[in-house]
């Protein structure tokens, strides 16, 4: 088999044993890698209803066939598990040197199961697996943890670690790699923490199996250079993703005051221009020539690497318009290993609930110092407030009551990224149908809505666009595992990815072959949710109710007086379901699932619900 190693390393942390398992060409072509491989493993191996923070959950670290090969932005790895935040399928990707080393160690995925009795970290080098006590780093943040491990193993290894958030089972804890980014928004870091696994260190020395190694090397290096040149010409990296902030502020899509407002006169103070002016360093993932991480000095003097989501949710959504303070909140999230999006939304929800009189507390919008304290409490689950905040906004709302769930800005339990969709129907649909909860990763259609469609349209063209983007962003880029930025931000053609895939695997796939895999993965992700929640209905694919509430409409500005309309949103959801071949509950029909070769999966899901 070329492209895939065909090997998965399974590590049992309870009894500290491991074995190497194999898979064949048919399985490889059906699920490809990354999200596909992780999902299929979790589907086959997890019993529904298990505690996501118990020993039965499994942590999957999966790469794709082009991972680690020189080609634009291929340094990414997918981390996945049953989510402790949502109770459904959860995954995310992050840039890390582990990507290359997983492949060079001879694996396409690592599976961690069971639970260690004491904190440990695992060192993997090719076929060797070693378990070390993690007492010296347990309780430490991700920066110190990485330092400790780099000192011991050198800077060339791949490290994935959790911070205090994951250790203390904060439900939106992530996994971090200082060689790139953090990933696993739906609490995948908490799953790692529940296994008492502080870090994974990996180093490989084997060749990656490539069908046409010379051709791939030449093409990949050439394309890396070309992407770098386009990036320079367009100037995208001058502000990277943070340029979006000013645009969202202009078109009334910025999260402000727990998303009750859509723009703010002080937004310029934390925009991409200010950020670029304050830049002290630039960071990127391995195999990337458009390095997008802009680091500034935070209020305490640390280097803090920001992107738009961080600034939108830890800044404007909390009414904090001091860039260095936003930097501080971001630094703390990174060090504690918390998702900046969920952390920002959860703090904003807390301030809102206090303002609405639903709960008593000292936190107010705009109070950066208090926000820092609360992040620490949430990461360590300190006291009543820390424990409440560590649960995420949906569980908090259910504890608080007073109809606060309506303004907990989440879908399926996962908090919404930094786009305020109170009057952006297509993007609201994208959040609501994202298969891990409200994440912008799978589909992002705001510019299409503003430029090529009517903002107030709930027509089939928006459902079609959401699906098209999900196939590419949530499908292709997540199962071959590459960063989507060259394509989405620089217009790097998608055919290149088919070319890389074919050069690596020796296959001859067209883009249409990828879309079938994407649709299969989307259908199985939905089955995963349905198996966990057999009473599934379409309301689980709704955005927060506050976006439909006329009293929440802007009083002035571009969308004054306007909010989403529920009956029209339902029509849009019907378009989406029809185009996907899903029923009115939002579940793939038998015919759809059969056309995607999901015979065994149909038999399994039908133990829980009847397919139409």
């Amino acid at each position: 088999m070329k492209g895939w190693t065909g090997h998965i390393l399974r590590i049992n942390l309870t009894n500290r044993t491991h074995k190497i398992e194999t898979f064949g060409q048919e399985f490889a072509e059906k699920w490809v890698g990354g999200r596909g491989l992780a999902l299929k493993t979790l589907w086959d191996e997890l019993r529904p209803g298990i505690d996501p923070l118990g020993p039965e959950n499994k942590l999957i670290i999966a790469v794709g066939p082009i991972a680690g090969v020189p080609a634009p932005n291929t340094g990414k790895t997918v981390v996945a598990a049953k989510s402790p935040l949502t109770g459904g399928f959860g995954d995310g990707n992050l840039g890390t040197r582990a990507t290359e080393h997983i492949r060079k160690s001879g694996y396409d995925a690592l599976i961690f199961e069971g639970q260690a009795d004491k904190p440990i970290y695992v060192y993997i080098e090719d076929d060797k697996v070693q378990y070390f006590p993690a007492e010296d780093i347990w309780g430490k943040g991700t920066y110190d943890t990485h330092d400790y491990l780099y000192k011991r193993y050198g800077k060339g290894v791949g490290v994935l670690s959790i911070g205090q958030g994951g250790e203390n089972l904060n439900r939106y804890a992530m996994i971090r790699s200082l060689e790139g980014r953090a990933g696993g928004r739906p609490g995948i870091g908490a799953v790692m923490g529940s296994k008492k696994l502080k870090a994974i260190v990996i180093k490989g020395s084997k060749p990656i199996p490539v069908a046409d190694p010379e051709g791939m090397r030449k093409l990949g290096l050439d394309d890396l250079r070309k992407v770098g040149e386009i990036n320079k010409q367009t100037g995208w990296s001058i502000q990277s993703t943070t340029g979006v902030l000013s645009w969202c502020n202009e078109v009334a899509a910025l999260p402000v005051h727990n998303m009750r407002q859509t723009h703010h006169p002080d937004a310029w103070k934390i925009d991409g221009e200010r950020l670029n002016n304050a830049r002290v360093a630039t960071y990127g993932c391995p195999n990337c020539t458009m390095r997008c991480g802009i680091a500034i000095r935070d209020h305490e003097g640390h280097e803090s690497e920001l992107d738009y989501e961080n600034v939108g949710l830890l800044g404007s959504d909390l009414d904090i318009f001091e860039l260095d303070q936003v930097g501080s909140l971001n630094y703390l999230c990174d060090d504690y290993g918390l998702d900046t999006i969920s952390a920002g939304d959860t703090l904003a929800f807390y301030a809102d609930a206090i303002e609405q009189g639903a709960i008593k507390g000292d936190f107010r919008f705009g109070d950066a110092e208090m926000a820092k304290k609360l992040l620490g409490q949430a990461a360590r689950r300190e006291g009543e407030v820390g424990n409440l905040l560590a649960e995420g906004s949906l569980r908090m709302a259910r504890t608080i009551g007073h109809n606060s769930e309506a303004y907990a800005m989440q879908v399926k339990g996962l908090e919404i990224s930094a786009y305020n969709c109170k009057f952006i129907p297509g993007m609201a649909l994208a959040f609501a149908t994202c298969p891990i909860g409200a994440h912008h990763k799978d589909s992002w259609i705001i510019t299409f809505e503003i430029k090529q469609s009517q903002r107030d349209s709930y027509g089939p063209e928006k459902a079609a666009k959401v699906i098209e983007l999900q196939r590419i962003r949530g499908g292709l880029f997540e199962f071959i595992v590459a960063c989507r930025f060259p394509w989405i931000e620089l217009g790097w053609p998608l055919d290149h990815y088919a070319e890389y895939f074919n050069k690596v695997t020796g296959l001859n796939w067209s883009l249409d072959d990828f879309w079938k895999v994407s649709d299969r993965i989307y259908a199985l992700m939905k089955f995963f949710w349905v198996r966990e929640f057999p009473d599934w209905d379409r309301t689980r694919d709704y955005p927060p109710m506050v976006w439909f509430d006329p009293s929440n409409a802007d009083k002035e500005g571009p969308i004054a007086g306007k909010v989403l309309e529920l009956d029209k949103y339902n029509q849009l959801l019907d378009h989406y379901y029809n185009q996907r071949g899903w029923d009115k509950r939002g579940i793939p029909t038998r015919q759809t699932a059969e056309s995607l070769d999901l015979k065994d999966e149909i038999a399994e899901v039908e133990k829980y619900t009847k397919l139409e």
Binding site: V244, E273, H440, T447
Partner: protein, 76 residues
Amino acid sequence: MIKITVKLIGPLINLAGYSEKTLEFPAETTVEEILASLPIDPLRPKIVTRNGQAVAPGEKLKDGDRLAISPIYSGG
């Protein structure tokens, strides 16, 4: 003459040398005419909004309008 506030976004700021400016144009100036007057490659894909809303081709601007010009972002 009409006064139009031009707001540039992202790397367009570095091309034009400013991020926001109020400029004077003859009455009934169209969006295209304003874009042509800026030092930004006309072939570069852009998204232009007038007072936060999409603009139609040939739309004439009014005194006090705010024109935001952004490269096409596709979401982080």
